[in-house]
């Protein structure tokens, strides 16, 4: 957080059918619908999040991710980060206050991997859903499905990881928590963080730019991940892989798809990091184990099925 970027704030996901998507993200995953706008977008949040929304769904004829946004500590930091991005040669676009409902002005930029990101300082603070601010209960009743705790991170696939690393680490103040190196020492996967979490965002090398691998949501326990698996079966939702454990991050996980084919993850656990920690390194030769710790084999679908 040394440059003032605080945390993942939102992700805008394109879906083919809004009604199906809303049902998936609310009934199954347990997000809460908080608003809709004139463009037909639907705003959602997980119950522990303090701001009004973290997931925005937009109906389109091609699924994928429009952008991911990070919240910065204040307007001064936003002004400085904008200057730093421009000085670094990054083209910055202004998105006015209110373009997303109850969100302050955003600055948007695209990195060399082909993915768009945003920074913003203000969003309506609505507090955690279903619990009081003072003397809060442990959790709210009335949550659905997987009862996702928070939007946690995204994984993107694209080229030019070194250039992306440069922007995220040297301009935005992220810290490299984990990486995969090929035999020549080239980084082919990078897990970056502005917090103690082992990743707030991750990139894996892929020739085609701008691909979306997954949006991930945090659950508390392994039991919750197993329960998520049961719900995936009960609802006949398209499963990818799991429940299992990652080698990278050591998180316990399950992957599945939304009705438009965007991949979702719910996970628990995972390593922590501080800025004095050296990055955890996996060798590309061990990639099977790095990705799926139990199977220990490369999973074709995980590497190639993207939106």
């Amino acid at each position: 957080m040394k440059k003032g970027v605080m945390r993942p704030g939102h992700v805008q996901i394109r879906v083919l059918d809004m009604d199906e998507a809303v049902k998936h993200y609310t009934d199954l995953m347990g997000l809460i619908e908080t608003d809709r706008d004139d463009l037909g977008r639907v705003y959602l949040k997980a119950w522990t999040e303090v701001d009004k929304f973290s997931v925005v769904l937009r109906e389109a004829d091609e699924p994928g991710c429009d952008f991911m946004g990070f919240k910065v500590v204040n307007e001064e930091a936003l002004v400085q980060l904008e200057k730093d991005l421009v000085a670094h040669g990054v083209v910055v676009e202004q998105v006015p206050e209110g373009e997303l409902k109850d969100c302050g002005r955003r600055i948007r930029f695209t990195v060399a991997s082909g993915h768009a990101f945003e920074l913003y300082a203000d969003k309506l603070y609505t507090g955690k859903w279903g619990v009081t601010e003072v003397n809060p209960e442990a959790w709210p009743r009335g949550l659905s499905g997987m009862k996702a705790v928070r939007f946690d991170h995204c994984l993107f696939y694209g080229p030019e990881l070194a250039a992306v690393y440069d922007v995220f680490v040297n301009v935005l103040g992220f810290h490299l928590a984990e990486q995969v190196l090929d035999p020549e020492g080239t980084r082919i996967a990078q897990f970056l963080t502005v917090s103690m979490k082992e990743h707030d965002i991750a990139f894996i090398h892929h020739e085609e730019p701008g691909k979306f691998h997954h949006a991930s949501f945090y659950l508390e326990t392994w039991e919750d991940v197993l329960r998520a698996a049961d719900l995936i079966t009960m609802t006949d939702t398209s499963i990818d892989i799991g429940p299992t454990r990652h080698g990278l991050t050591h998180g316990k996980t399950i992957y599945f798809f939304d009705p438009s084919g965007n991949r979702n993850e719910v996970f628990c656990g995972g390593d922590y990091t501080y800025p004095d920690h050296k990055p955890v390194t996996w060798q590309a030769e061990q990639l099977g184990k790095a990705i799926f710790y139990h199977d220990r084999v490369l999973n074709e679908r995980f590497l190639t099925v993207l939106t």
Binding site: L16, D17, D61, E62, P63, G64, Y157, V180, D182, T186, I188, I204, H205, H206, E207, E208, S238, D240, F257, D258, P259, S260, G261, N262, R263, A284, L287, L298, R301, L303, T304, V305, L306, T307
Partner: protein
């Protein structure tokens, strides 16, 4: 059982029954067959792209990037999003086939 449509994959020679209202991909998976690659099952990733050579079917929503209208006209569709109305003959599409817009690029650095 017995009610449904026969789907024949002429590339692999596999043949399976698809119930009314069931997608071709789901029917294939349910019968433990692997003659079409399985991706997201949601019309989004383009992984299960096939060409329908013969037969009638209905289409669900598919990503325009992988199944644009002109491809659908040529029978190039996603197996996860087609529902047979008659028996079907399908064929697999090689990833580099001309006119196949799905362009499954691979993560070569990871292999």
């Amino acid at each position: 059982m017995g009610i449904g449509f026969q789907v024949t994959n002429r590339t692999t020679g596999d043949c399976f029954t698809c119930s009314e209202g069931q997608s071709v991909l789901k029917a294939m998976e349910q019968r433990g067959m692997k003659c079409v690659p399985v991706g997201c099952r949601g019309g989004g990733c383009g992984y299960c792209k096939i060409r329908v050579v013969e037969g009638e079917f209905e289409c669900g929503k598919m990503s325009k990037a992988h199944a644009p209208p002109e491809a659908i006209e040529q029978g190039k569709v996603l197996a996860c999003r087609i529902y047979p109305l008659t028996d079907l003959i399908i064929e697999c599409l090689p990833p580099s086939a001309p006119g196949n817009t799905s362009e499954q690029t691979t993560t070569k650095a990871l292999r």
